[in-house]
């Protein structure tokens, strides 16, 4: 018998009873295939799903998406919603990299025309966009710039001339969360961010040149501007040191709040504060500043990608049709309205390694996509496929409008290094038609394809459960890693 028994309640849905861990206030619910379950149990991630279920004011269930894996406090892939009056906000439920997310840029380039240019294009991206340990960009932000970015997010990037106003329509929340307060962002946090706008970072962050290999939903693909054989560029990055510093500082404050409020936690990383408390409200306001910085960071890199392509092809990016498909965030806490037991309620929805997935008709979706649902961008590993999905209305019913965020790790970083010791990963990927440029050798081994689940297995679950629909599949051609 597993320590945390899971009961199948529907295809791809597994329930973790409230009795699994003392103090659980709601059940857990994990979205997974039959094949994934033994691994999920072996990794003990249901223990973290159960831990989240002990937090005050949690509503309906502690959810986990199929890319679930062991995190700290919250599992990666976790979704949890909290009542605004009785519930808590937890920085650990957002993660250190606040508004880590994915941007997808389309083009009118066809793979058959440019396949031989991929190594040079990848080199050009690698040279033009700072990446790797402690990477710093060319843009040095003044205090005034920082304040504007923290309060206005991606709008600053447009104002500074790195992106186009039309880009904002293709970003979750238009790349800006209001009800923020830059005065809550410490001097140290600002110092960490001073030279980090327009930088990729390290670890699992990447820029990929991809080709569209399959279209599954013609109507949605057409709305998103996707077609078979098309070249796309995907960026995965977040709020860099700024988000980390805000999370770190708040976690310390919330250790004290937990003690003051007498909240019993199974893991100190779940430290939290009542949403209506000064500490809770201050965290949400500072977190929104970090989310705004992350959107500005990704959109600045979009500008740098466009510059690279424009310079390479000696054409303006507009004539390469390098418009945004969409930008999604997958580490965030948002105040949203959801129906619970037939009643509309305002909830604080934490998504840690999960993507908002709005169904057709939702007014928050750009006009051009509203009839087909919000684009959901699912990066795969650097050898296998990534996906574009679309949100469904069933996601509102089942997961507070949430879906998966990526492939999800299968091996620890150490295990990945050990499993590939002595192997020439760059050569192996080249044999598969993937050109890789990475700053750090260690990162290559930590990020090998076999360290991740196949994104196909993950998307099969969210599609099978009805919380997303499949739109397109892409394969990597050129990869830039930090």
């Amino acid at each position: 018998m597993p320590e945390f028994p899971l009961e199948k309640i529907a295809p791809f849905r597994w329930r973790l009873a409230e009795s699994a861990l003392q103090g659980m206030r709601v059940p857990g619910e994990i979205f997974a295939s039959d094949e994934m379950i033994p691994r999920i149990i072996a990794d003990k991630t249901p223990q973290q799903v159960a831990g989240v279920a002990t937090l005050p004011g949690i509503v309906r269930a502690s959810f986990a998406m199929p890319d679930i894996h062991w995190g700290y406090g919250f599992p990666i892939g976790g979704v949890a919603a909290f009542d605004l009056d009785k519930g808590v906000v937890s920085p650990g439920g957002v993660g250190y990299d606040i508004n880590c997310g994915v941007t997808l840029i389309r083009s009118n380039l066809q793979v058959k025309e440019i396949f031989n240019q991929i190594p040079k294009l990848t080199d050009a991206l690698f040279d033009h966009i700072p990446c790797g340990v402690g990477s710093e960009g060319k843009i040095k932000l003044s205090q005034r710039d920082q304040d504007e970015i923290l309060s206005r997010g991606a709008e600053w990037v447009v104002k500074a001339g790195y992106a186009d106003h039309s880009d904002l329509d293709r970003m979750e929340d238009h790349g800006r969360l209001d009800d923020n307060d830059p005065s809550l962002v410490s001097a140290r946090t600002r110092q960490r961010a001073e030279r980090q706008l327009g930088t990729l970072g390290s670890g699992n962050h990447f820029i990929e040149i991809q080709k569209v290999v399959d279209i599954y939903d013609e109507q949605a693909a057409q709305a998103f501007g996707l077609w078979k054989g098309q070249i796309l560029v995907m960026i995965h990055s977040g709020s860099r040191g700024l988000g980390h510093q805000i999370c770190e500082e708040t976690l310390k404050i919330m250790q004290g709040v937990v003690r003051r409020e007498g909240i019993d936690l199974p893991d100190r990383q779940l430290a939290c504060a009542p949403i209506r408390s000064t500490e809770g409200e201050n965290y949400l306001k500072a977190m929104r500043c970090a989310a705004n910085f992350a959107w500005a960071n990704r959109l600045t890199m979009v500008g740098l990608v466009r510059q690279t392509f424009a310079s390479f092809y000696k054409k303006p990016w507009q004539s390469l049709d390098m418009n945004l498909v969409y930008d999604v965030c997958h580490n965030i806490a948002q105040i949203e309205s959801h129906t619970v037991e037939g009643k509309k309620r305002q909830l604080c929805v934490h998504r840690k390694g999960a993507t908002r997935a709005l169904g057709p008709g939702d007014p928050r979706i750009p006009d051009a996509y509203r009839s087909v649902g919000q684009p959901i961008l699912i990066p795969g590993d650097m050898g296998r496929a990534s996906y574009v999905l679309a949100g469904t209305n069933k996601a509102e019913e089942l997961t507070f409008s949430s879906s998966c965020h990526g492939a999800g790790r299968l091996l620890s970083r150490h295990a990945a290094i050990n499993a590939t010791r002595g192997e020439d990963i760059v050569k192996q990927l080249a044999a598969q038609g993937v050109f890789l440029r990475a700053k750090e050798k260690g990162t290559i081994h930590e990020e090998v394809p076999q360290a991740y689940k196949d994104a196909k297995d993950v998307t099969d679950v969210v599609v099978g459960a009805g919380v997303s629909k499949l739109v397109a599949r892409m394969k990597p051609l050129g990869v830039v890693k930090g």
Binding site: G203, R409, A415, E440
Partner: protein
């Protein structure tokens, strides 16, 4: 003394020492080792300077996270290249400081690995025959 412990997405270490102060010292040394991929212990002929880091908190776990986070900030943002722990001064459950020797301004450019944060994940300092703690770093 420290050893790495398997963690699916990040880096975890187990540290042990004869004293609580020693545990803080060993934890700092382990972090320097991780940041420099073990190279800090092997360098010689560098003109080292010292710098101080400090943290406060209501319990020893908060102090440990605070002190390690200060070392991360000094090395990754202020670009200090840490080499050795000179001393640790601990007032349990109140405050801690450490003197570190290293390369000033720019020495941190040679760091091999980015460690983004020190987590509280299942963080618990224990004492039986030795003082022990497991620390998970976000990478």
């Amino acid at each position: 003394m420290y050893r790495t412990v398997a963690h699916q997405a990040d880096i975890a270490i187990g540290v042990e020492a004869d004293s609580l102060e020693g545990l803080f010292q060993e934890s700092l040394a382990a972090l320097i080792d991780l940041l420099t991929n073990g190279e800090a212990a092997n360098v010689s002929g560098e003109e080292l300077e010292t710098f101080m880091i400090e943290a406060d908190g209501f319990d020893n776990e908060v102090l440990l996270v605070g002190l390690l986070s200060e070392l991360l900030f000094a090395s990754q943002t202020l670009k200090w290249g840490p080499r050795k722990i000179v001393s640790v001064n601990l007032v349990p459950n109140a405050r801690v400081s450490a003197i570190i020797s290293g390369l000033p301004d720019g020495g941190g450019e040679r760091l091999c690995r980015e460690i983004k944060a020190v987590t509280y994940h299942y963080l618990k300092i224990t004492h039986f025959d030795l003082w022990r703690v497991s620390i998970v770093f976000d990478v």
